[in-house]
Symmetry: C2
Subunit: 169 residues, 2 copies
């Protein structure tokens, strides 16, 4: 089973693709979808749609797992992330992929064993499970953070697969 | 100029189409896009996309005006409305339509002359400008509320057209 994990954002969306074969889990790909702040908001949504579609067409995942954000630092950010989120769900659904959403605390608990784990703990757990090669491709810590969150939600799904369409856990 | 006004929601989205010829403004159509609560969230987004596309193909508006919501009663609602909003903006942008967003207070001020106008005042102003025929098609007050909000934002755009791509006013 191929799981595409997405960590939604407007400027930077992380993606991470993992393969689950029985108990064996490996990471196949991870990276970022970045949209220029100079581009208008509607064009950024079109770009996000295009890039997610490209990843789906390239890797043909069986399912999409996304981090469900319930609130953001401010209402404008919440609304903007919500828009980007909507495009991701729409793109997955148009490709006939089921979308599973997980709350951040659930992801941390499943991946790092602690719902209050910090970023370092989650990343340490990720490397332990997926192997040492899961490192920033751009040597930028911030960059890996986003891709790591995407790998984490994919991993969370791999560990907790249930038949529960579009539900939250 | 044909302006498509949208009042975004997840369960019920209002739409209103107005025509501006010089100083003459008339309403051409208004109504609701309703999605069943029983349908999964991804499928509802697909439905919203489909219906907006249908309205755009039917009426061929020149521009889309939307109410920009900055916050909602709760974070989950904000996120859900944000998703639906994202789909509407995406659909308009894919049809090469510019999207203009207006804050609720701006709409009330432009349409009813008072940024703190209540629903009744806005609807009274709408009927005065667009004519007595602007009434609920379903005889349901709630139903007209949503379509009225869509007509109001279209009207707001008609009165305040500026070259300001995707901006907020």
């Amino acid at each position: 089973m191929l799981i595409l994990g997405l960590d939604p954002g407007t400027a930077t969306t992380g993606f991470g693709l993992i393969k689950k074969e029985g108990k064996k889990i490996t990471s196949l790909d991870f990276g970022l979808i970045e949209t220029d702040k100079e581009i208008s908001s509607p064009q950024r949504l079109i770009l996000i749609h295009k890039e997610i579609k490209k990843i789906i067409n390239k890797h043909k995942p069986d399912v999409v797992a996304m981090e469900r954000l319930f609130f953001a630092a401010n209402a404008k950010t919440a609304m903007d992330v919500g828009r980007a989120c909507g495009i991701m769900i729409f793109t997955a659904a148009k490709a006939n992929l089921e979308v599973f959403e997980y709350a951040p605390m659930t992801i941390k608990k499943v991946v790092a064993g602690n719902g209050k784990a910090d970023k370092k703990m989650v990343q340490k757990a990720l490397r332990k499970i997926l192997g040492a090669r899961v490192r920033s491709k751009k040597n930028g810590k911030t960059h890996f953070d986003n891709a790591a969150d995407a790998l984490a939600v994919a991993l969370c799904h791999a560990y907790t697969i249930k038949v529960d369409k579009g539900g939250e856990k």
